[in-house]
Each structure stands twice: as C-alpha cells, then as structure tokens.
Amino acid sequence: MSNNQDGAFFYLGTSPHVEHEDKEAAKFGMWLFLYTELLLFGALFLAYAVYRSIYPKEFEIAASHLDRTVGTVNTIVLLFSSLTVVIAIVAIQKGNKMLSAFMLILTMACAFTFLIIKTFEWKAKFDSGIFLVPQSNIGEASAVLSALPQGQQVFYGLYFVMTGLHALHVIIGIGIFIVILVFLFRDIIHKKDVVFLENSGLYWHIVDLIWIFLFPLYYLVV
C-alpha cells in the first residue's frame, strides 16, 4: 500500500496481465446456463402443475394409456448413459483416451436408443389416433383426440410438447458429443484440460435429470 500516499481509489500495480484460461469460469458459466435450462422446463412443469390441479381425473385416465414399461426402459437407458459419460471423464483424466472415446460412443448409442424407443412410443400413439396436426391442415385434425374430454386433450398437448422438447435436447446432446469426440482425437481435450468434456457431461446430466421428473409425472401418475 505504499503507493497510497495521496489516498486515491486505485494505484496501478506492477504485475502485468497474466494470460491464462480460467477453467473455473468456464464451469461457472456452464452451471448458470444449466440453470436457465431448468427454468425453461420449469415453466412447462408449472403449466403441468396448473392443469393437473384443474383436471386430476382426466390426467390419471390419460396417463394410464401411456406405456409404463417403455418409459421405464428409457429411464434405465438414460441413467446408464449418464454413468458412461462420467466414466469417459475419469478415463481421460487418467490419460486413457481410447476408453474415454469408447464411453462417449456408448453414451451416444444410449441416446440413439432412447430416441428410437421414443419414436416407437409416439408412433403407437399416432396409430391409435392421437396426434397433433399443423394449423394448415386443421381439417384433418384427429377425431379421436378432439372427442376426448378437455383435460385429456391438454394432457396430450403437454405430453407431446414436453417429451418433444426433451427429445430435442437429447438430439443436441448427440451433436455435442460428436464435437467432443473430434476434440478428443485432436487432443484439444486431454489429460490436463477436460473442461469441455466436463461441461458437456453436465449438460447431459441435466437432460437426464429433466427426464427423471418427466417419467413419474407422465407414466406413474396413476
């Protein structure tokens, strides 16, 4: 504090700026971003809560028509993929690039499996006559759906939007892991610098976590 004879707010220090990458900052930023993701889905959960309190009976009936086995399998697949991504992080921290890459590919395989199962689930619903149509062909709207009580119509509106948005996040996750895999082979991600992989792992866990909430709300309501 010897520079402080005149009592000014600042004195100019002697150390020049040090060039360094702030990995803590990168992770902090990622956590903040994940927080916005939670709030994004939070708004949807809020709407779910409102409509379920208005139509408790209808929600129960509609939910009983969803396939609980399929939902459970998908939950297991996603949980397993969270494990594989963690192993991928630990592996690269220990310098095992091949294991890390293998685990990332396994994670993506799980993500694909999830999407395929989800597609068949939606397909079954479409075949039973429950589907949404674009405004332009509103004349072909599902007669089955519009014959249902209003509470069930809202239930399916919520179901398609929320699981659809979640599936979109799974697809984005696959894209991220492809980039990460490239980074891994180009040694941009290596033993000393795993922050990219850690951040994408965090993202994947959030996608997982949201499903953990979607699963009971839609499949285990009854």
């Binding site: 504090m1 520079n3 402080n4 005149d6 009592g7 000014a8 707010f9 600042f10 004195y11 100019l12 220090g13 002697t14 150390s15 020049p16 700026h17 702030d22 803590e24 900052a25 990168a26 902090f28 930023g29 903040l32 971003f33 927080y35 916005t36 993701e37 709030l39 994004l40 889905f41 939070g42 708004a43 949807l44 809020l46 709407a47 409102v50 409509y51 208005i54 139509y55 209808e58 949404l132 149509v133 674009p134 405004q135 509103i138 709207a141 519009s146 009580p149 209003q150 509470g151 069930q152 119509q153 809202v154 509106g157 919520l158 398609f160 939007v161 948005l165």
Partner: protein, 548 residues
C-alpha cells in the same frame, strides 16, 4: 495517466482483415462489440421513434388522418417490439455494460469474449427476423408486422392473421442473446475483479449490471419458452392456451408477465446505475448511502418478482391474489424511493456542474418520480379498475421507460462518449437537445395521464370528438414533434462530435471510477498493469480522485 509513452487505442488497432468492416464485426474486443451494439440499437431506436411520431400524428385529430386502424395496430406493435426488445432491454447492458464493465472492475475483457460476439450476432439475427417479419409481411396481409401489441395475449395472438409468429420467434432469439450476455457478466464479475476489488467496492453501475444479469438469467427462459409455445399454438395447435381444448389463455398472461414484469427492472436498473455514476461525478461528492443503494438494487429485483399479476387485476383472479400482488407492488416503491432520496442527498452541498449528462440525470429524477408515483395509482386495486387499459397506463409506462430508462441511456451516452470515442460532445447543442427532449417529453406524455383519467382507451386508432379530448390530444401530438426534433438534434450532435469534436482528456468530468484512469480512448487491453483497489470507490477527497 501514469504511462508516458503513447499507446494504440482500441479504435486504431492494427487491422486483421483486408475488408475493413470485418475488423469490427468479427472482433471479440468488448469495447468494439459495445460500440457495434450502440450503432445497431440506436438505428432501431430512431426507426421506432419515427413510428411513434406517426402514431401521435394519427391521433392528433378525431377520425382517420394518415392510415387505417389495421395498419395502426401493426404500427404500435412494431413500435413497442422494437423499443422494448431491440432498444431498451439490450441497450444498457450490451452497450455500456460491454464497454465499461470490464474496465470498471479492472479487467482486460469479459470472461468469454467469443460468447460475447455470439450474443451480438444472436441480437442481429433476432432483430433481422423481427424487422424481416415487419417488412415481408404475412400470407394473409400485404403489410407485415404483428397487430397484437407486444404482450401477444391469446386468443387474439393465436387467431391473428398478421405476422405474429415471426415476431414471437424474434423475441425468443433475442432473449437467448441477453441470457448469454447475462451469463458472461455474472462470471466476469465473479472471476475477473482486480485485486482487492471487493463486491462492496464495485461502482454502482457494475452492481446494477450484476443484479440485472441475474434477473435476465432467472426470468428470460420462462418467457422464451412461453413465446415458443404460442408459436406452436399457431402452427400446430397444442391447446395449452386454447379454452376449446381445455387450456387456459390466462395462464399465458401469467407466464408472460412472470418475465415481463421483471423485464422492466432489466430496463430501469442499469439506467439507475448510470444515473448514480453521473450524479456522484457531477456533484464531486461520494454517493450518499452506497450500501443502501446496493441493497435497494437487490431489493427491487427481489420484490419485482412478486408483482407480475398487477398487470392482470381484471382477469378474474381471486381477491386474495389481487391483494397480495397489490401489496408487493406498493412494497417495490420503498427501495425505489430510497434510491431517489439517496440521489437527492448526494446533490446536497455537492459542487454541482450542470453539464449535459447531469441535465439528463436530473431530467431522469423528475420524470422517474412522476412515473413511480403514477405506478402506485395503478397498483391500487380500485383505482386500477378505472385506469386499466387507458392512456394513463401508456403515460405511466413511458414516464418510467422513456423518461426513466431512456433519459438514463441519454445521460450515459453524454457521460461516457468522451471515453468511448476520445472526443467531447458539443455542449451547447447537447444542452439545447436536452431541453427540447425534456419539454417535448413532458408535453407529449403528461396530457396522456389526463386523457386516461377521462377514459381514453389505449391502443385505439380513433376517438369521438369531445370538447375536453380534442385540445389535449393536440397538445400531446405537438409534444411528440418537439421530442422527436430534440432526439434527432441530439443524435446528429453525437455523430458530428464523433468526428469533429474536441479531443477529450483522460478524465474530462473528474470521475473516480476506473474507466477514467485508463487512456482515452482505452487501449486494446485497457490496462498496462493490473490495478489494485485501495480506497472506497467514490472518494473525491483524494486529490479530486485523480491518480498519478
């Protein structure tokens, strides 16, 4: 400035690309990004301002003057969408936050410079879609633009044949731009403060940016997804807000206002921060009650989360809910009033210099007080029933957002312009433009309070001629013309002074915060050496706050 040898300013950094503009639009320097936001946002501001003038001209006399009601609906929606999403929300954080936040905390840039550039391009993309929707129109009408107002309330926004979807999509995209900026600022403030720059030693402008960033982070995702749901509702009816499918249109309003009420604090808080800087500098006196200023900033943000439904008193909420929301609305006046008292107390016995930034700051105090008090009228349940949906609301909103946030932005431009561009704004013209803007503003909006009390509905294209209506409408429209003249003179003055103004010294106003310690204009990395904080931030006794 302690350094003796000349440095290159950020404006004259060696070009990387042959094609000159690329050196700006691909630059990750926080200062260049801030300046790009300045140009873009003010271009949109002028467009929306001129649209606003035509709206007032249309209303100058009863009956149709210039255009019909459908076009009128699209114009006032366009005016509000541009003003809110492209101008007031991003201006303060993105222009002055980008430029000065790193300098004020003694950093050389923000934490994620590349993300910062991405935010700018998201802003440009969103702006392009918003304006594109306006220009290109929609299949069902020749003239583009949405006609729902910026609140997009269903079922009108579901059924409207105008370009609502593109406008909603634009607002969604713009929202993500501000979220990324908010993340950037929060991380920067946490990680990159200079040694010994404790949280309670940060300048108040930085504090308001910090709190604003949190509001953006917490509120924006909710409205973002709500707007996307409304887009889906239009393209592929999902029934969330459609009563025929069991949905509830009022839920949309709740989800919209959960963001959009805090959004008015996103607009006003950084302006309050800039006003704090201006008032302390031009009084040459430490800000009165620094800590209570910080607390009231946090307080406004916190309480501001529990007031959203005061926009919806007439939607048939329960009386308990109405009471609670009305109570919190009154509560938010307390931290706001603390700020006004502190600013006034800072002026007391200060050595006040009435330069143009200070004039705008005092204009802010005057207008914002009126805006704040009339907000209490609207927060009172019984009065709101009478005033809801009248011109009174429009006047109140403009007194807080234009007379408040807008004047704050103008004060900030006049205050920081010398540092940003190295030149002094022509003071005489600046003062002239202030008086035109201030007088025009009050002549325009104060009569609208009276019109509102008399029952003039907002968003109406026309009105029935009445003895007491017609003259007041005319006065208001004349005010709009004075205001627009003032703003155009002001902006021209900036443009001319930017190239012909006198060279500015490092600290033309005698400020104490760190941006006045660096060169004018700042060098690429702002500081040669990392600055270390010694005293409190607003210490004017320390040889006029100058160092070295």
């Amino acid at each position: 400035m302690s350094s003796s040898h000349a440095h290159t300013s950020y404006l004259d950094v060696k070009d990387k690309y042959q094609f000159k503009p690329l050196n700006w639009i691909l630059s990750v320097d926080h200062k260049r990004i801030g300046v790009m936001y300045l140009y873009t946002a003010f271009a949109f501001f002028i467009v929306a301002l001129l649209i606003g003038v035509t709206i007032k001209l249309e209303k100058m006399f009863p009956g149709q003057q210039i255009y019909g009601p459908e076009f009128y609906n699209k114009l006032f929606t366009t005016h509000s969408v541009i003003m809110i999403f492209l101008f007031i929300i991003p201006t303060m954080p993105s222009i002055f936050g980008n430029f000065f936040l790193p300098i004020m905390i003694g950093a050389k840039d923000v934490s994620f410079p590349r993300l910062n550039l991405v935010s700018y391009w998201i802003y440009v993309l969103g702006a392009g879609i918003a304006v594109g929707g306006i220009v290109l129109g929609s299949p069902t009408s020749l003239i583009g633009g949405a006609d729902t107002g910026w609140t997009f309330t269903p079922p009108n926004s579901t059924l409207s044949g105008s370009a609502v979807s593109s406008t909603l999509l634009a607002a969604f995209i713009l929202g993500w731009g501000t979220i990324l900026t908010a993340i950037n600022f929060i991380v920067t403030i946490h990680r990159m403060r200079a040694p010994n720059m404790k949280f309670l030693k940060m300048p108040l402008f930085v504090w308001t940016l910090y709190v604003t960033s949190w509001i953006q982070l917490i509120a924006t995702p909710v409205v973002g997804i709500t707007l996307m749901l409304q887009v889906m509702e239009r393209f592929m009816p999902i029934g969330w807000f459609d009563p025929t499918k069991g949905g509830d249109p009022v839920l949309f309003q709740h989800m919209f206002w959960i963001y959009s009420h805090p959004a008015v604090y996103i607009m006003i808080l950084p302006a309050m921060g800039a006003i704090s800087e201006v008032i302390t500098t031009f009084s040459q006196k430490a800000i009165f009650g620094y800590f209570s200023m910080v607390l009231s900033t946090v307080g406004i943000a916190a309480v501001g989360y529990f007031v959203w439904a005061h926009h919806m008193f007439l939607t048939g909420m329960s009386e308990v809910a109405q009471f609670v929301f009305s109570f919190f609305t009154f509560l938010v006046a307390i931290p706001t009033a603390i700020k006004v008292f502190n600013w006034t107390a800072t002026l007391y016995k200060g050595s006040i210099k009435l330069d143009s930034p200070m004039l705008f700051a005092i204009g802010f105090l005057f207008n914002f007080s009126i805006g704040g008090f009339t907000g209490l009228f609207l927060g009172a349940l019984n009065v709101d029933v009478q005033l809801h949906g009248t011109d009174f609301v429009v006047a109140h909103f403009h007194y807080t957002m234009f007379g408040g946030a807008g004047f704050g932005i103008f004060a900030a431009v006049h205050y920081w312009f010398p540092k940003m561009f190295g030149r002094i704004i022509n003071e005489g013209v600046a003062k002239l433009s202030f008086f035109l803007v201030f007088i025009g503003f009050n002549v325009l909006y104060f009569p609208m309070f009276i019109l509102g009390v008399y029952g003039m509905p907002r968003r109406y294209h026309d009105y029935v001629s009445r003895d007491f209506f017609d003259p007041i409408q005319k006065i208001s429209s004349v005010g709009a013309m004075i205001l627009a003249t003032g703003v155009i003179i002001m902006v021209l003055n900036w443009i001319i002074s930017g190239s012909r103004g006198k060279k500015a010294s490092d600290n033309p106003w005698g400020g104490t915060t760190l941006e006045w310690k660096v060169e004018t204009p700042p060098t690429l990395f702002n500081f040669d050496k990392v600055p270390t904080v010694v005293n409190d931030v607003y210490d004017y006794d320390a040889k006029g706050g100058l160092h070295g």
